[in-house]
């Protein structure tokens, strides 16, 4: 067969996300890949500059549906650092519990999606069934299933009652049993092994070169986890281990994520059992002093970075969000080349992409071909030009 161009996305059953791949394939083999991000630029960073610290958290939570707690924790952690406020231990523990529950539901969701990408719908149905246990716990604790709204600058919004703690502890053994079942499944299930092993391989050097983060990096033997290497919340006190793997392929990434599921369950159990008494938040000043801070956080998908600059008012001057998906894209584009056409969905899914969070404005056809910045007026002009002759007049 001659080379053909296969468009994948933004409307495609494999990726229900606003992204477009132009896959140039020779028969079933991928020759080249062109990526087009940014179908869905939402201007959240700009909007964050208009709101005070209380109102900016709900906005940042909506950067991502899956890791909503990650974004609000990363931001409030940064602001608290600038304000030099220490939040009370009970507040820190509750934040950690929510964070790890979020990691569990994200990884269970991912396992289901990865199984669906290779057409193994049974595992998809089962993991999503078990994910409901985590979701129920989160709903019980915070009142919401997706956007928990637990964080506030200076602590968390609400306390956990003994009843909520007990209900969560009761669900954990069931979850742990199911997780063990999935561990066995991933190691034994033949079609999973056929489709995961040796697919989308990345060596340790490549990971470091392309700057991949999170489970993608750890699956290639890069022993790096912000929770251990730059501890925040209570990760320094809790006994847990960083999960790594040396396979470097989709199988390795699955193993890492399943291992993290186990570790997360351990952390949640420890935190619930050792929840200290005391208040859950402190009063914080309305205004933050002038300063810059780089807040790092290990989101389910990898290292999340919030750069925050304050200017002595109750608003941020600039918040810049680097989502883990953005860091992982290059590695995906590289390891897709020379792979099989059928492996695109699972390789892309293996980094657990979250694309709406990642959308950036990049102008590639500026004079000289160098990506650059444009003024708002120029952007408006381009918009008018682009929309001429389209839509209702």
């Amino acid at each position: 067969m001659p080379e053909v161009t296969i468009p994948i996305g933004p409307h495609h059953p494999a990726l229900k996300e606003p992204v477009n791949f132009k896959v140039i394939a020779d028969g079933e083999r991928i020759v080249r890949l062109e990526l087009d991000l940014s179908y869905n630029h939402r201007g959240i960073e700009k909007a964050a500059e208009q709101r005070d610290f209380i109102r900016v958290l709900p906005l940042l939570e909506r950067v991502c549906g899956i890791c909503s707690h990650s974004h609000s924790t990363a931001f409030s952690k940064g602001i608290e650092e600038i304000m030099q406020v220490m939040i009370p231990p009970r507040g820190q523990y509750i934040r950690t519990i929510i964070a790890e529950l979020e990691r569990m539901h994200s990884h269970l969701l991912w396992l289901g999606v990865a199984a669906h990408e290779i057409g193994f719908n049974t595992l998809f149905m089962w993991t999503w069934r078990d994910r409901e246990l985590v979701q129920d716990t989160l709903e019980e604790m915070s009142g919401n299933r997706v956007h928990y709204g637990m964080n506030e600058v200076g602590g968390v919004r609400c306390d956990l009652s003994p009843h909520q703690v007990n209900a969560a502890l009761e669900r954990l053994p069931i979850l742990e049993e199911r997780i063990n079942q999935y561990v066995n499944m991933v190691h034994d299930q033949q079609t999973l092994l056929l489709r995961f092993k040796g697919v989308g391989k990345l060596t340790r050097e490549e990971v470091l070169k392309y700057g991949a983060v999170g489970p993608t990096a750890r699956a290639s033997g890069v022993d790096y986890d912000v929770r251990r290497d730059d501890p925040y919340l209570v990760y320094a006190e809790v006994p847990w281990e960083v999960v790594t793997d040396t396979n470097g392929d989709v199988y390795g990434r699955t193993c890492v994520r399943i291992g993290e599921l186990r570790e997360s369950a351990r952390i949640v159990r420890y935190c619930l059992e050792n929840l200290p008494e005391g208040p859950v938040r402190v009063e914080v000043p309305k205004i933050a002093p002038k300063g810059d801070v780089l807040s790092r956080y290990e989101a389910p998908r990898g290292e999340l970075v919030h750069f925050i600059r304050t200017n002595g008012t109750n608003k941020v001057e600039r918040v810049d969000i680097r989502t883990p998906t953005l860091a992982n894209w290059t590695s995906v584009a590289m390891c897709l080349v020379n792979q099989n056409l059928a492996d695109i969905p699972v390789i892309v899914a293996a980094i657990d992409p979250c694309l709406s969070c990642t959308s950036r404005i990049t102008l590639l056809n500026t004079p000289g071909g160098i990506p650059g910045a444009v003024t708002f007026d120029e952007l408006r002009k381009r918009g008018h030009f682009y929309n001429q002759g389209r839509g209702p007049q």
Binding site: V4, I118, G119, N340, D343, P345
Partner: protein
């Protein structure tokens, strides 16, 4: 005159087209229900396949620019006609009255037509997903068809006849071919699963890779008919395996009156095809999709070798014990 009338009733009403369509829709329901229960879901109500079929019949048929409309309209009908004809030669209530020496070959040939039609649909669709799907359909066909044919022809070899009815009668006196030829039975089940493009062989219509493969551009009644073709193939294939390997719808004893024998035969038909479906659904639930290159390796290395081994065994057994 009565012969003609019985023939017409057999073709049109029972167990011909009307019954076949109802049974095919019921089979889809059964398949979906079994799958759903195994996946811890509720599953559809019993009329869901019929409702889907009627709904799709009423939907708009979208013609693609630059594609021959006649081909697109005719293809599903031809495929449906082929598999429905094939079903007439498969025994339902006792042996088929249309059976002749060599009808096994005819049934196998007719069962191949939907696959070829699917390839043609994919090829003329002028859609990249359909074209890739079409190429995958034909590639997959070359992989599973040879072992599937060999596996289904081994009972014929041992029974020394090319007629499905005579193969059933042979089993009536002795053992089922499932026990005599376990390798052939397994290969036949795998081949049927691959022919029906169900997991792990749903490579041509891999949803997450190529949207729906050759089905992508099918709309309205074309899609409805192609779905029906799939279900009818499922019924015909299960019935064929039930006849060749599980003894078919006949009991070892002669039952009087004749209508009771027919009723018993029908019950056996439902039970045996249901059992085949249960196995196929279990395979579907328990596996993910493999890649076309992996299927190529597995198909030619193991499945084809297994079926050849079965043929060799049958020839040895025939030489030593069966034929004088």
């Amino acid at each position: 005159m009565t012969g003609l009338l019985t023939g017409l009733v057999y073709i049109v009403l029972f167990p011909g087209f009307v019954f076949l369509v109802i049974y095919a829709l019921f089979f889809e329901f059964l398949d979906r229900k079994i799958t759903a229960r195994m996946q811890n879901r509720v599953g559809p109500p019993i009329v869901q396949p019929l409702a889907d079929f009627i709904k799709m019949l009423g939907k708009e048929v979208i013609d693609i620019d630059g594609v021959d409309r006649q081909v697109f309209d005719a293809a599903p009908v031809v495929a449906l006609a082929a598999v429905m004809t094939a079903f007439l030669y498969v025994p339902v209530i006792g042996v088929s009255p249309f059976g002749f020496q060599g009808d096994l070959i005819l049934v196998l040939y007719l069962l191949t037509i939907p696959t070829v039609i699917l390839f043609i649909l994919g090829w003329v669709s002028r859609n990249i997903f359909s074209s890739i799907g079409g190429v995958r359909v034909i590639t997959q066909m070359f992989i599973y068809e040879v072992p599937f044919f060999l596996a289904l022809l081994t009972p014929a070899l041992m029974a020394g006849t090319w007629s499905i009815s005579e193969i059933i009668l042979w089993q009536q006196q002795g053992l089922w071919f499932m026990i005599l030829q376990p390798i052939g039975f397994v290969v036949a089940l795998i081949g049927l699963q691959a022919k029906l493009e169900r997991p792990p062989f749903d490579i041509p219509e891999a949803e997450t890779e190529i949207v729906a493969g050759p089905w992508t551009e099918l709309t309205g009644r074309r899609l409805a008919l192609m779905h029906l073709v799939k279900n009818v193939t499922l019924v015909t294939g299960s019935a064929l395996i039930a006849a060749l390997f599980l003894g078919g719808p006949v009991l070892p004893w002669v039952i009087t009156p004749a209508w009771l024998g027919m009723a018993m035969g029908f019950c056996l038909f439902v039970l045996k095809t249901g059992a085949v479906l249960l196995v196929l659904s279990t395979i579907k639930v328990a596996t993910g999709r493999i890649r076309i290159d992996q299927l190529n390796t597995i198909g030619w290395k193991y499945i084809a070798s297994a079926s050849l081994l079965q043929v060799a065994l049958v020839l040895v057994i025939n030489y030593r014990w069966v034929s004088p």
